[in-house]
Subunit: 445 residues, 2 copies
């Protein structure tokens, strides 16, 4: 070795390519997912990066002598002949007649849970999370995070195609973006700093540079409550766009993004979607309803007594989701014009009725997955609004730099990646859709 | 508005498409980058998301009456006719004859620095960083982070094409990945936790799930030293691959990634590359030298007295970079087989000579941009190595879960995104290539 060329020698064949190798000798590498010994032969299921491949060992077609060290979760290289047959429905199916097995590594001991069944049955979520590094070896579990990969990939791809620039905002912040108490404090060489709750202030500033920006990155919230839909660290998919004509532009961009994502999942993540029986929504258009109209609907149609006239509680979101599905034929509904008092200081008030804002939430099957809206861009207006909110504008000097030296009309939104994944897959707990969740009681593994 | 369709109405034309609109009336939106009043007419340079477009205002072709409020950094919508001419070299050039200007917003005051010159001249780096949100409005400054976007994009695209899965490891960690003192501590509801120094432990575990994984995400190091090449928060581009035949596989993957990135920059980021006069390296193959051979070369050929026989100092890296360029014709050189004592506990020792490791660094023009290598995959071997390093394996129970229940031969690497951007663009300080740098003295903006 005195030069590296970058040539990647592919010495294995993927299961998807078996059809092109029918009758040929090929090589695969993976974990032994399962061994089923039968009379006179054995099935060896190999788990590769994406598939589980059935291999058959029988003395009749193999000179290879079974090694007694072979066990589940051993890493092996299997050489064998691709053979095809027809399944009950007449479809081609492929398996490998084993000619040889090289052991690459062996586990030190047996797994504490069964990962080679269809799903992790009768195992508590807390145990699954404790054992996450190995629980993910179950094909259904690992498919969850392929779906999640697809969502984030779709978000990036669509936005890049629409002129957005990817940004990297710092996670160590001098001030909490949204203020409030649920911010993690960090000792930074004797100074007190904060972990980013959102890239809000940075993505706005960068609208002045790139017009349209996005970021997919971790954010941190010191949630004291242990709920099924909150995490203390999660992935925020954020976008911000300048030179908008109205806040409708932002909702159109989100609708476009979601259409693209769902289509990507249906095509390039088809196997995972099927494995998880995921109900991927069809999106043609998304209905829109004003906040106060929604409140009225809840009271009149659903006889629901609101606990809070400035926001929705989870029950109200659920009812609105049902209404959207049944009456409007949509899995999604935009609720717009939230009361000014309940939205952050950077939200633009509706010039026609400043009690309300040019903001929206997106509900997906009765769960809020997005908050967004138009932002204040005028410097004096922003300073005045901060003061009205009881904030000291002097502490936000670098944030206000953007407004002071010229900001276009703009707005944006954030989507919680794990929450969207959870709801898309029909889970009741966001931890199921989080690789390594952090909550008030959990920082491991 | 009662339905959102997701249709994005494009009411502006990009500069690149002017050639298709010659003689037509089009609309553009952007900042007024510069106004140059001449006798009887004026040039108005509009800064869009990517370009600076020359527009001409003259009463002869415009009914529009100049608005005295128009100023630099105002956000405007300009309507006008595309007109073409030939430049001195005979190339087509396009400008816009202004028919009308709508003011979308106005700055509250003038900029404290000049951003509309070719570059930010005679301004100290600390001032540029203090004013980052507006300093980035300079076309050269903003091009830096388009290049950075391209690097990260190339990394992701190439790996996705080569069967890698994107992962999201937690940034709030129960233990420092690499141990050591330069870790930020966080008060987590009364528990002491750490900010991730690297996704090392997680990416290894996920090799057991997806075989090949990558992540592009922030990492945190509590660097007490204020140097030109270190940051306290930076972006790490990490990959880890399982079922490798040798650690050469990892170097091949990196060489492939780098070729792909450089090609992407030369094609899709051509304008930014030209604007920054970036010297994008040609990569055909990358030479490889063993650590001890490099030390010998430094002593014999360069008469350099090493300060440390277990690692290189910056001067040595520089000399090796010069040697690679001059003698081997390469901007890159892999140095392999670093001494075991200087590499982390998870590094695999060379079975032929356990004083050294199956590890490598990649030097780019004399600067280390990558550390990587093969990892220990056998459980007992890893436990023994931890104990030899004075670590308590019991504290790493969740990490060792991967090894205990079966791990394939594997390895990986990390590339510092900002450091690579810095060196590619010929900067001497990594802060120039970091949007919002964090160091011992800086947490703003």
């Amino acid at each position: 070795m005195d030069k590296i060329t970058g040539e990647i020698i592919k010495d294995t064949v993927s299961f998807a390519d078996f059809k092109d190798h029918d009758g040929q000798i090929v090589c695969i590498k993976g974990y032994i997912h399962r061994i089923r010994e039968m009379t006179g032969f054995a099935f060896v299921i190999i788990r590769t990066a994406k598939d589980t491949i059935q291999c058959v060992y029988a003395p009749e077609f193999s000179d290879y002598r079974w090694d007694e060290k072979l066990c589940e979760e051993a890493c092996v290289k299997v050489t064998g002949k691709v053979v095809s047959s027809k399944d009950a429905k007449g479809n081609d199916r492929y398996e490998l007649q084993i000619h040889g097995i090289d052991i690459l590594s062996l586990p030190a001991t047996n797994l504490p849970i069964v990962v080679n069944k269809k799903q992790l049955d009768n195992i508590q979520l807390s145990t699954i999370l404790d054992l996450r590094p190995i629980a993910l070896r179950n094909p259904k579990e690992r498919a969850i995070f392929k779906i999640q990969e697809g969502i984030a990939r779709g978000f990036r791809e669509y936005l890049a195609q629409n002129g957005f620039t990817e940004i990297r905002s710092p996670k160590i912040n001098f001030a909490g973006a949204e203020g409030g108490t649920n911010v993690f404090k960090l000792d930074y060489f004797g100074k007190e700093v904060f972990l980013a709750q959102s890239p809000q202030l940075y993505k706005q500033a960068l609208v002045g540079v790139y017009q349209r920006v996005f970021e997919v990155a971790p954010v941190f919230r010191a949630e004291h409550h242990d709920t099924s839909r909150h995490l203390n660290e999660y992935t925020s998919m954020d976008l911000e766009m300048g030179f908008i004509n109205s806040f409708e532009d932002i909702m159109n961009m989100e609708t476009g993004v979601l259409k693209y994502i769902m289509n990507l999942l249906k095509t390039e993540y088809k196997e995972e979607v099927e494995l998880l029986h995921a109900d991927i929504p069809e999106i043609t258009e998304i209905p829109v309803m004003k906040f106060m109209d929604a409140k009225e609907l809840l009271m009149k149609k659903f006889k629901y007594n609101p606990t809070d006239m400035k926001d929705f509680d989870p029950k109200e979101e659920e009812l609105l989701g049902k209404y959207a599905k049944k009456e409007l034929g949509s899995d999604f509904i935009f609720i717009t014009h939230y009361p000014s008092k309940k939205r952050p200081f950077y939200t633009m008030d509706d010039p026609n009725d400043p009690e309300y804002t040019l903001s929206f939430d997106l509900l997906f099957r009765g769960l809020e997955i997005t908050s967004g809206g138009q932002r204040v861009h005028d410097y004096n207006e922003q300073v005045a609004k901060m003061e009205k909110c009881g904030m000291n504008p002097e502490l936000f000097e670098t944030y206000l730099m953007f407004h002071k030296y010229g900001a276009p009309p703009h707005g944006g939104l954030g989507i919680g990646l794990e929450r969207l994944t959870m709801h898309l897959l029909g889970f009741s707990n966001v931890r199921e859709a989080t690789m390594f969740p952090r909550d008030i009681n959990r920082v491991t593994p």
